[in-house]
Amino acid sequence: MEDIQEFSEVKFQGIKINYLYICKRKLWLFSKNITFESTSDKVLLGKVLHEYSYPKENTKEVLIDNLVMIDILSDGSIREVKYSSKMKEADIMQVVYYLYYLKQKGIQKQGIINYPKEKRKEVLELTPEYKEKVKQALKEIEEITTKPIPPPAQKQKICKSCAYFEFCWG
């Protein structure tokens, strides 16, 4: 039970890292638990499509949100599945964060990002540069999420497919 609790905390932090690179406003809102994923059909679709490409055998799957799905493979490496490589930096940083977290627990692992649609994969190691970047990111998250008000909405291309679209622009 304790492990699950702890992992959900790590997972929560992982999503925040991802959001930091996608949309700082989303990061702030998410940190206050102002989320709209549960009523978004797009989110549901993403979830289900993931299950198609990677049936549950051999993996312990941890759902993170519409864009992010973490699998812990049977050999202990960490895998994330993405539908496109549009948010590459955010994806990489998220996986690197998990590696960073595991490293602190004395576990050294590899991270893999699969892009099934593009038939590609990316293998990641925790390099000193990444380590530094993760530390920096965690600091930035702290700064943003402790602000009393959210960063203002800024229109990006990805807004249209975001579960927060109606909230931000309605």
């Binding site: 206050k32 638990n33 102002i34 008000i149 959210p150 203002p152 909230f167 309605g170």
Partner: protein, 326 residues
């Protein structure tokens, strides 16, 4: 869009091997539970905890109405979208006198706007429209507390309801607005419509992080989910009244659709069905939203109002109530 179900027949809501059925004397119908957002129960319906637990798993809200079609209560499954942060800030806006008055004013402003909008295209009601504009024009700047605002709103609503006599069929004359109980058909229609909009608004609030019990125009100490009453003010003239006008002027509803009991006048089952059908089709009607550049249904606009309130509470964007631009 997730759908609303309305059970006007008597029967039993039953779970059998992970299928939800509504069984009446004449049929046993399976319900496509995955697509349902809310169920409105008007008939005499039995259900047990086994069914309730199953319904809860899907986050479906149940609204119950009494024999006369008035809102009785709701069953809200354990909420998933909880944000303590939003609730605390929502409460702050209630506690601060100025902040509370601002929001209360916004609700009334939007309600009055939509009342005037309903009269605008009716030549017969011109004098009433002018009277409302006059009352609102001179009253709106002299409000220093909620009671005064309520008073102004009440005076405007009186004029507004009086105007109905100018363009509705004679059978539906409005002497005065009576709530408990409505004793004539027009009052019965308004009360029924207001019950529906109230519960639908509650369903939308439930989907967000807002706390339905902290309100601004209405006192939170009232028994009901008073935030739903606040937001309903905006949508009563916009949705309920336009549905009533349409049903009466097209003669879809006539006196035969009402029953009377001692002091009560209320819609009979057939009348309720006709009303609900029109009401639901209004909720599903869509309008192009200028900022979103998407079609938004009337139901969607209720949700957007909730979002705007959250943004107001968290200091993101000052609340500006809906004023139908179409």
């Amino acid at each position: 869009m997730q759908k609303s179900l309305y059970l006007t027949s008597n029967g039993r809501l039953r779970r059998h091997e992970n299928t939800l059925y509504f069984e009446t004397e004449v049929e046993k119908r399976s319900i496509d539970i995955e697509n349902v957002e809310q169920i409105h129960i008007f008939g005499e319906v039995d259900l047990n905890t086994k069914a309730l637990n199953y319904i809860s798993q899907y986050g479906i809200v149940l609204h119950f109405y009494n024999y006369y079609g008035f809102y009785a209560g709701s069953f809200l499954p354990r909420k998933k979208n909880v944000s303590g942060d939003v609730v605390v800030r929502q409460a702050l806006h209630y506690l601060d006198r100025e902040k509370r008055l601002f929001l209360a004013y916004c609700f009334v402003e939007s309600a009055v706007y939509h009342m005037m909008r309903n009269l605008r295209e009716r030549k017969e009601a011109e004098a009433f429209l002018i009277a409302i504009e006059d009352e609102w024009g001179k009253g709106r700047f002299n409000i220093s507390n909620i009671a005064e605002l309520m008073g102004l709103e009440g005076r405007i609503r009186n004029i507004y309801y009086q105007s109905f006599n100018q363009f509705l069929p004679e059978d539906f004359a409005m002497e005065k607005r009576e709530k408990r109980p409505p004793t004539n058909p027009i009052n019965a229609l308004i009360s029924f419509g207001n019950s529906l909009i109230y519960s639908h608004t509650l369903s939308q609030i439930y989907q967000t992080q807002l706390d339905p019990t902290i309100s601004f125009l209405h006192e939170p100490s009232e028994k009901r989910f008073s935030l739903s009453l606040d937001i309903s003010e905006i949508f009563k003239p916009l949705i309920v009244d336009t549905v009533i006008f349409k049903l009466l002027n097209n003669r879809q509803i006539s006196l035969e659709h009402f029953d009377e009991d001692l002091n009560y006048c209320y819609l009979n089952q057939e009348g309720k069905k006709i009303f609900i059908k029109e009401f639901q089709s209004k909720l599903e009607t869509t309008v192009r939203h200028r900022q979103l550049n998407r079609n938004v249904s009337y139901k969607g606009f209720i949700r957007l109002e909730c979002y705007k309130l959250i943004k107001h509470f968290i200091g993101d964007q000052v609340y500006s109530p809906l004023k139908a631009w179409w």
